[in-house]
Each structure stands twice: as structure tokens, then as C-alpha cells.
């Protein structure tokens, strides 16, 4: 059994706020759920499958109660920021298997407005015991270790990494909800403060409150909705870790999840019209493009240069909402917003300045965790409904 063509994304909604001090995170879950269901033309009472990550309370047990849902299928696969791509694949599986017909997937977080510290939300594991001692500050230190090694092995430069941020800013200027709307130059990125060599402040994504949701439905449901939907054509997932102390910092789990998604969808990188590539940091995008096969390993720096990622004329438009680098990266989990922009592109509903002409095939990739240690990776391939 394959998921190809077995499910569609019928509702997609990104919370319009970026700073939310006045309501609980559970409430944000409810607001994005309502927005996505309204976008699809469905009700809460239609929902029979529910997915969320494990970041709030007792995960889906807490949230299904808060939302008043009665479900035949529930899932809280937790792979960091890529969780929602995994959830979509799992929702398609559940629908294909007849376990539910309307799957609601929500995420939300408010790092700007709360004082939660990530380590306290999970039971301690040995990797934490051995890695929490050395002054790694947030996520950037691990990603900097990867960037440093990639530069050593392949000659990648900071100016090449900066091109990724420049492209994102070119897109974000058209997004009224983007956290950062000002365009930047390579020189400005390199002049931004050094955080952890070789990554500057502008190599790092924004910190935002917010959320997003999608509704994935069976084809017979989509048929009656009168709303353009996006076909789920393929999805792959992988956990890439240190492999017993043999960590290789120059590639990510996209090397595993990408081929699986492409094979299931029956397409190749050359067929992709638009890509949402997880951009927690510039180096994340660069390694991922290589791993997915848009260019050879080590060639990412050359690939992203000279406006290659800028819509509508770049050879591979990427993150046309401005991405995590400029628009939104709610609670350090950027996968949902990546999916939502891909759905906009396939519906022809992206901003006209960045809409890819005749966008038939979109790729979404999520990287949760750290390319400096262990990550959850997922690649999703979506198609225009009539493609």
C-alpha cells in the first residue's frame, strides 16, 4: 500500500500573530485548528484523527481534551520541527487504511512570552547527560560545528551561506506578517554580530510566537469541498544520529528521507517547481539542498549563489514566505509554516511577486533537532490537485 494520491491537504492556516503574550499555548492550538477547519469548510465535529507534537503537557491527550475531540486515530510523533511533515505522512497512512477521514494537525508555541526551558520538558536521557556540560548555547552551537566542518571539507564560504538569508529577505518584503521585512545584502549579513563561528546573527532564524495547522482529508471528502487542495504524493522520514560516535557533520537525514519521498511520488529533483527547505540556519538549507539531490554534496555554496533561490525566476525558488530566516519559526519548530507556503504555491495563492508560474510540484523538507548531533528529518512531496 502506498500513500500516493490517497490524501489531500484541504485546509491550511498560519496564525497571523508573531508575539502572543495574552493567551495560553493551548488556546493558540484551538485558534489555528479553527482557522484550518474553516479554510477547509469543515467543523470540529467532523474531525476523527488528531496529531500534535509532544511539547505541551501530556501531548495529544491534553490537547484532544482541550479541543473536545472524539478520535479514532491519534499520533504525537515527536521529531522536533519536522514533526508536522511526519504527521502528514502518518495522516495519509491512516486515511488510506480507513482509520480516519478528517485528520487535524496542530502546532503552537510561545517562546517570546514564556520562560519554559526545553530540557525540563523531557525525561533526561544519556545524550543529554554527556552533551549538556560544554556550554552549547541554544541550537546555534551545534549548527556552527556542522558549518565549520562543511567549510573545511568543501570550501564553503560565509558569503555563500549569506546568499540564503538574502534570498529569504527578498521574499519576506512581500509578506505583511513577516517578523523581518527588510531586505539585506551579503555584506550586511557578514557584518552582523558573530554568534558562534562561523555563524553570524543573520545566519540564524527568527524567534517567534505563533502556530499553524493543516487539515488532511480523504479524496472523497476533498471532492465535495469546492476548495483547491494539494495532493500528498510522497513522504519520507528518518532519524539521523551519531551512529555510535561516528558523527558526520556534513550531511543530514535528508539524504535518507529525500530519496524515499521522491521514489514514492515517482518524481526527481528536476521536476520540483517550488521547495520549502527548513531554514533554522543558513547551513541547514545548504546541506539539505545537497542531500536532496538538487546539487552534488559539497556544491551547495555554488548552487545558492547568484539568486538561485529567489522567486519567480530563480532556478529553485525556496521559502517564498521569507522562511524561518525572515518570516516565522514559531517555537523553534519551522515545519508547519514550510508546509503552508507550499500549499499556497500549489493553490496559486502565494504573493504575486513570489508566485511560481504553473506550480505543479512542491517539495517540503523539515529538520527537527540538530544537524550537530541528532535530528528527525522528513521530506514531503505535494502536487497541485489537477496535476
Amino acid at each position: 500500500m502506498t500513500i500516493r494520491g490517497q490524501a489531500l491537504i484541504a485546509g491550511a492556516y498560519e496564525h497571523p500573530l508573531r508575539v502572543i503574550p495574552d493567551r495560553s499555548t493551548s488556546q493558540v492550538h484551538a485558534e489555528v485548528a479553527a482557522g484550518a477547519l474553516q479554510d477547509a469548510g469543515l467543523e470540529f465535529s467532523d474531525v476523527d484523527g488528531f496529531f500534535c507534537d509532544a511539547s505541551a503537557g501530556f501531548g495529544p491527550v491534553s490537547m484532544a481534551e482541550f479541543l473536545g475531540l472524539r478520535c479514532t486515530h491519534v499520533d504525537s510523533t515527536e521529531t522536533g520541527g519536522s514533526s508536522y511533515l511526519v504527521h502528514i505522512g502518518h495522516a495519509a497512512e491512516a486515511i488510506a487504511a480507513g482509520r480516519c477521514e478528517v485528520a487535524l494537525i496542530t502546532m503552537a508555541g510561545r517562546p517570546r512570552s514564556t520562560a519554559l526551558r526545553r530540557a525540563e520538558e523531557y525525561e533526561l536521557t544519556p545524550d543529554f547527560v554527556f552533551e549538556s556540560l560544554w556550554g552549547l548555547s541554544g541550537a546555534v552551537t551545534g549548527y556552527a560545528l556542522a558549518a565549520q566542518r562543511h567549510m573545511y571539507e568543501f570550501g564553503t564560504t560565509s558569503a555563500q551561506l549569506a546568499e540564503i538569508k538574502v534570498a529569504a529577505s527578498q521574499h519576506a518584503q512581500h509578506n505583511p506578517n513577516a517578523f523581518l521585512r527588510k531586505t539585506v545584502t551579503v555584506a550586511e549579513v557578514l557584518e552582523s554580530p558573530m554568534i558562534s563561528t562561523p555563524l553570524h546573527r543573520d545566519d540564524c532564524c527568527v524567534v517567534t510566537d505563533g502556530g499553524g495547522a493543516v487539515v488532511v482529508v480523504a479524496p472523497e471528502v476533498a471532492r465535495d469541498l469546492g476548495r483547491r487542495s494539494a495532493q500528498v504524493l510522497g513522504q519520507g522520514e528518518a532519524v539521523k544520529h551519531a551512529d555510535n560516535g561516528r558523527i558526520d557533520l556534513t550531511y543530514t537525514g535528508a539524504a535518507y528521507s529525500g530519496p524515499r519521498a521522491f521514489e514514492e511520488a515517482g518524481v526527481t529533483p528536476a521536476d520540483i517547481d517550488y521547495a520549502s527547505i527548513y531554514d533554522s540556519f543558513t547551513i541547514t538549507v545548504l546541506e539539505t539542498l545537497e542531500d536532496l539531490g538538487f546539487c552534488a554534496k559539497g556544491e551547495g555554496g555554488r548552487f545558492v549563489s547568484d539568486g538561485a533561490l529567489v522567486a519567480p525566476h530563480g532556478r529553485l525558488p525556496v521559502n517564498t514566505d521569507g522562511g524561518g530566516l525572515c518570516n516565522n519559526h514559531p517555537a523553534g519548530r519551522g515545519g508547519m509554516t514550510k508546509v503552508i507556503e507550499a500549499v499556497r504555491q500549489l493553490r496559486g495563492e502565494a504573493h504575486p511577486a513570489v508566485q511560481v508560474r504553473d506550480c505543479e510540484l512542491a517539495l517540503v523538507h523539515g529538520t527537527g533537532g540538530s544537524i550537530g548531533s541528532r535530528m528527525g528529518s522528513s521530506t514531503l512531496i505535494l502536487g497541485r490537485e489537477d496535476a
Binding site: 533526561l124 536521557t125 544519556p126 545524550d127 543529554f128 547527560v129 554527556f130 552533551e131 549538556s132 556540560l133 560544554w134 556550554g135 552549547l136 548555547s137 541554544g138 552551537t141 556552527a144 560545528l145 556542522a146 565549520q148 566542518r149 573545511y152 554580530p193 558573530m194 554568534i195 558562534s196 563561528t197 562561523p198 555563524l199 551519531a242 555510535n244 560516535g245 561516528r246 558523527i247 557533520l249 548531533s373
Partner: protein
């Protein structure tokens, strides 16, 4: 193994309570010894330490003493930090050191100018007392 001179970096006590099966590792570190867990069946070193072999699935493992020598596989100089104790002593160096025995170990490089660290640099282990009956294994440029 030499004990380091006055150190700039904090030496936080590790959460040994979360890995009670590894008590010997932390006790040995407190005595200036770097232990490696090895699989009795396939012979592979195991990192991070576990009493289980992730390569062959064996539960038969033993401690062996590491040489303490290695080289820098990657590093980063941290200029801005939010970590208590560390944020006041920037710039400092976080690195993966590849031990002679193979494993790439997350750690700090100490006793040198952060700007002088290079991938491939030869290093040797030093121990920083945590004040909690153990010590942290960090690495300094190898004596010439």
C-alpha cells in the same frame, strides 16, 4: 593524567543520577582517567557510554582506559552565550574531538587562544574538577 591549572570555564556537575549504570565512568574521571566502554562481543568502542552495544546489540560490555589522545574533528568559537557560567567567559571553544580509539566526543578545547584552534589539531585530555566527586574531560593542545 595531568590536572589542569586554574580554569576559566565553569565545570558543571553532570546529571549522573540519570545514568546510574555509568557511575564508574564519572568516578574514574574524578581520578583523572578517561574510560571507554567496549563491546565484549564485537570489540567496538561505545560512545556516548552505554552498557549496551548499538553496533551488534550485545549486553556484554566492559570498561577500558582510553589513551586520552585525539584530534579536533570540528570546533566553534562561541562569542554569544546564554548558558549560566559560560556566558561570562566568552569566547570559549566547543568541539568534537576524535579520540585515537575512534569516537568523536563533544567537549571543550582549553589552555589555548580560541583563535588558534584548527580542525586536525592534536590534543590531549585534561580534567576539570566539578566539586561533586567527578571531573569533566576537556582537551588541550598536545605537548610537543
Amino acid at each position: 593524567m595531568p590536572v589542569a591549572e586554574p580554569v576559566r570555564l565553569p565545570a558543571p556537575a553532570p546529571r549522573t543520577d540519570a545514568v546510574p549504570e555509568l557511575a564508574d565512568f564519572w568516578a574514574a574521571a574524578g581520578q583523572g582517567r578517561l574510560l571507554l566502554r567496549r563491546c565484549d562481543d564485537c570489540g567496538d568502542p561505545i560512545w556516548y557510554p552505554r552498557t549496551f552495544c548499538p553496533d551488534c546489540g550485545s549486553l556484554r560490555t566492559s570498561w577500558a582506559e582510553a589513551s586520552g589522545r585525539g584530534h579536533v574533528y570540528s570546533y566553534t568559537v562561541v562569542h554569544r552565550s546564554a548558558v549560566p557560567g559560560y556566558r561570562d567567559v566568552t569566547p570559549y571553544v566547543v568541539a568534537y574531538v576524535e579520540l585515537e580509539e575512534g569516537p568523536r566526543v563533544l567537549t571543550n578545547i582549553v589552555d589555548c587562544d580560541p583563535a588558534a584552534v584548527r580542525i586536525g589539531m592534536e590534543v590531549g585530555v585534561v580534567f576539570h574538577d566539578t566539586g561533586a566527586g567527578t571531573a569533566l574531560y576537556r582537551f588541550a593542545p598536545a605537548a610537543r
